[in-house]
């Protein structure tokens, strides 16, 4: 089909042992996690937990040992990710660094940047956020206006980022900034560059934006004459768009794009036994979960082979988002509000609200389907 292929992959031979280790760890670490914590999962933030995950070698798993990594395979890393997500672990303090910022620095960073940042990400010490969206630039990301001007010894940043998840808790942001003005609107993808920005620099104001559930998760980040030194540019000046979009295959392909609400199915399953409609609904959900898992594994396998399956990743993310978004609604339809235990009710309540974000974060449904349509040959 128009070049989109999802060849089957096996999980690695080490998977059963790795899973056993993770399950024992997560059962202990997670015994006091509230339904809300599990509902937020990878948008949740728990530094102590992330440090413990780092100590056990489960961050930066595929990176070279010289940079604090563990030189394991992308599919072993996949096993770790899916085990974390299945229990709704609050992985947000290391998720972005492990998934995106670390690989970016490894691929395009200077030797100095690699030595400075990677070991601390891998140990769970450094938390990263991603500065992309702006008040007037959402899906049309390349129209962004926050600018970095060249000054002696570095760059001066002015402007504003929004919807930056956990910026108020993070140490560094990878920011996509305009370093050359737009002369022709058709050329707006040029003149963008990526920077490592210390969130505590003078001139940065971070204001949490409450989400619809009343929680502090995402933020508005204002830059007022913020100075960053030259050595914080990542990759090539002006190549920020290509660099950032190359990251999307990593950002969009993971199991977090279909598993966000699975902890609810696990938590609620035993309360569905008396519901006559439950077997069919649960069966359909499981059939889809098994299929999405294989599609997601397939993309992880392609990444391991050094391919850049950006379009396959877009398709899996879109299908996965539909799935994880529909799951709480389907369970709501089955759960008796009077007899359902309060813990399950609470998780369902949070997921009902949080699920709206699934098809927005990391590329909206409409943008993803546009990418798939172009792949199909529609213009």
């Amino acid at each position: 089909m128009a070049g989109l292929r999802f060849d089957l992959r096996d999980t690695p031979a080490t998977a059963p042992a790795l899973r056993a280790e993770l399950r024992a760890f997560l059962a202990e670490a997670g015994k006091d996690w509230s339904p809300k914590v599990r509902a937020y999962s990878w948008m949740g933030f728990d530094r102590e937990f992330s440090r413990e995950v780092g100590r056990r070698g489960w961050i930066g798993m595929t990176w070279p040992k010289a940079y604090g990594g563990h030189e394991r395979s992308a599919l072993e890393r996949y096993v770790v990710l899916e085990e974390m997500l299945a229990v709704g672990a609050p992985v947000g303090a290391h998720w972005i660094g492990d998934r995106q910022s670390g690989p970016l620095i490894l691929r395009l960073g200077t030797e100095e940047q690699r030595r400075e940042f990677l070991p601390r990400i891998a140990s769970g010490e450094l938390a990263f956020c991603i500065g992309l969206s702006e008040p007037d630039s959402g899906s049309d990301l390349a129209s962004l206006r926050t600018r970095a001007e060249k000054v002696p010894g570095g760059w001066r940043i002015n402007g504003r980022k929004v919807w930056t998840t956990n910026a108020h808790l993070c140490d560094f942001m990878i920011a996509l900034l305009r370093t050359s003005p737009v002369s022709d609107p058709k050329q707006k993808h040029q003149g963008l560059s990526q920077f490592l920005v210390d969130c505590r620099l003078s001139g940065i104001t971070i204001r949490p934006i409450l989400d619809l559930a009343g929680e502090e998760g995402f933020n508005e980040v204002t830059f007022d004459n913020v100075f960053v030194p030259d050595n914080m540019l990542v990759g090539r000046e002006g190549a920020g768009w290509e660099q950032a979009t190359a990251e999307l295959a990593f950002e969009r392909s993971g199991p977090e794009r279909y598993l966000s609400s699975l902890p609810l199915l696990i938590a609620a399953l035993d309360d569905l036994r008396a519901e006559p409609a439950a077997p069919e609904v649960v069966g359909r959900l499981l059939a889809r979960a098994a299929t999405l898992r294989q599609m997601s594994l397939s993309v992880a396998g392609m990444l391991q082979e050094g391919k850049a399956p950006a379009r396959e990743a877009a398709l899996v993310k879109d299908a996965g988002n539909d799935y994880e978004q529909a799951l709480p609604e389907k369970l709501r339809d089955l759960l008796d509000p009077i007899r359902t235990p309060p813990q399950v009710q609470e998780m369902l309540g949070y997921m009902t609200m949080v699920a709206r974000s699934y098809s927005l974060r990391g590329g909206t449904r409409e943008i993803l389907r546009g990418i798939i349509a172009r792949q199909l040959g529609l213009r």
């Binding site: 089909m1 128009a2 989109l4 999802f6 089957l8 096996d10 999980t11 998977a15 059963p16 899973r19 399950r23 899916e82 299945a86 229990v87 699975l262 199915l265 696990i266 938590a267 609620a268 399953l269 035993d270 569905l272 036994r273 439950a278 077997p279 069919e280 609904v281 649960v282 069966g283 359909r284 499981l286 059939a287 889809r288 979960a289 098994a290 299929t291 999405l292 898992r293 294989q294 599609m295 397939s298 398709l315 879109d318 299908a319 409409e366 993803l368 389907r369 546009g370 798939i372 349509a373 792949q375 199909l376 040959g377 529609l378 213009r379």
Partner: protein
């Protein structure tokens, strides 16, 4: 059965693709719907050894695995499966497994309660009951002719007499082997047909113009076709996964994957057909346009050997009985603890 290497499978699939491209098409599908047996196509398929391909070499077959079969059935589905080859392949495989040498020619697979596609043209009939007993019958002279309402293929019912031979399916296949293989073949044909109608629809959207531009340039149309592509991809992955599981663990222990494949392919058939018809609009609703030759078959196949809800209920019941704590371990363990063939 074994997993054939990728090169061999590639060659086989190319042959099947060429066979169908050269000898099939909308005219052959329409003729089949009028009850005309695709004799030439069947002869060519036999020349390639396809009907017996799943039987072991010692019984005149090629010893293909289920995953290979799934890939062949997808190609068949892409061409609207104008001949009852998939069912005949399954019949030969089950007979061979029960120790009965499968005969040459078209062997109709008779499942309890289901009409037999093209039964009237069968050389032999393989009847499988719910206990796993397989019986080989000579062709029934008294077929009660019928026709599938939606698929329009001949679908006949037999009154079977004394069998020529009786055997029993081994434990590895289980008493439900025929139903499961049947579910898998229909799911695989759906996955193939969905690819075909998606390609037809993309082509149509790029050529049909309204408001001065191809309708495929409209986001409303693009978004729908993207969704259709996701459904087609899901169906393809689900059937491949089921074929692999059947090779590794035997049909008896591949229920989850086969059920999932039938559920996902069945859902994809409904959702996908709705989209391709919406994009084709009125022309796709005509008898003249070939779209319905494929979509009607998809609708028909999703009901064969258990509709989505039947298979969904089964895996749902198992999961509910196992409980929430086992759900994730069960989902991840299937290919990690049992990889022996």
């Amino acid at each position: 059965m074994s997993e054939t290497n990728d090169d061999l499978r590639g060659i086989l699939l190319e042959q099947v693709e060429r066979l169908l491209t050269d000898n099939s098409g909308p005219d052959v599908l329409r003729a089949a719907e009028r009850g005309e047996w695709p004799a030439r196509l069947w002869e060519e398929a036999e020349a390639l050894g396809l009907p017996l391909a799943l039987a072991p070499e010692s019984m005149g077959g090629a010893g293909l695995g289920w995953a290979d079969a799934v890939a062949v059935w997808q190609v068949l589905g892409r061409h609207g499966a104008p001949l009852p080859l998939a069912g005949s392949m399954v019949a030969a495989a089950l007979l061979a497994s029960a120790g009965i040498a499968p005969p040459f020619g078209f062997i109709a697979l008779a499942l309890p309660g289901e009409a037999v596609p093209w039964g009237r043209r069968a050389g032999h009939v393989a009847a499988v009951d719910a206990t796993g007993q397989v019986a080989l019958h000579a062709a029934d002279p008294k077929w009660q002719h019928g026709r599938s309402l939606i698929g329009r293929e001949p679908a006949d019912r037999a009154t079977l007499g004394t069998p020529l031979a009786i055997g029993r399916l081994p434990d590895r296949l289980g008493p439900e082997a025929a139903l499961r293989a049947g579910a898998l073949l229909h799911a695989a044909q759906i996955a193939g047909a969905l690819e075909a109608v998606l390609a037809m629809t993309v082509e149509y959207a790029n050529t049909r113009k309204q408001f001065g531009r191809p309708i495929g340039a409209f986001q409303a149309v693009q978004q729908q076709l993207a969704l259709c592509a996701a459904e087609a991809a899901a169906a393809g992955v689900a059937v491949a996964q089921a074929g692999r599981a059947a090779d590794r663990r035997g049909l008896a222990r591949a229920e989850f994957e086969i059920a999932s494949a039938k559920v996902v392919a069945g859902e994809a058939a409904g959702a996908g057909a709705a989209i391709v018809h919406q994009v084709h609009a009125a022309i796709g609703f005509t008898d003249e346009h070939p779209l319905h030759l494929y979509t009607r078959r998809m609708w028909s196949w999703r009901d064969a050997c258990g509709a989505e809800r039947i298979w969904a209920r089964r895996i749902g019941q198992t999961a509910l009985a196992r409980g929430g704590a086992a759900l994730w371990p069960d989902l991840t363990a299937r290919d990690e603890t049992e990889t022996t063939a």
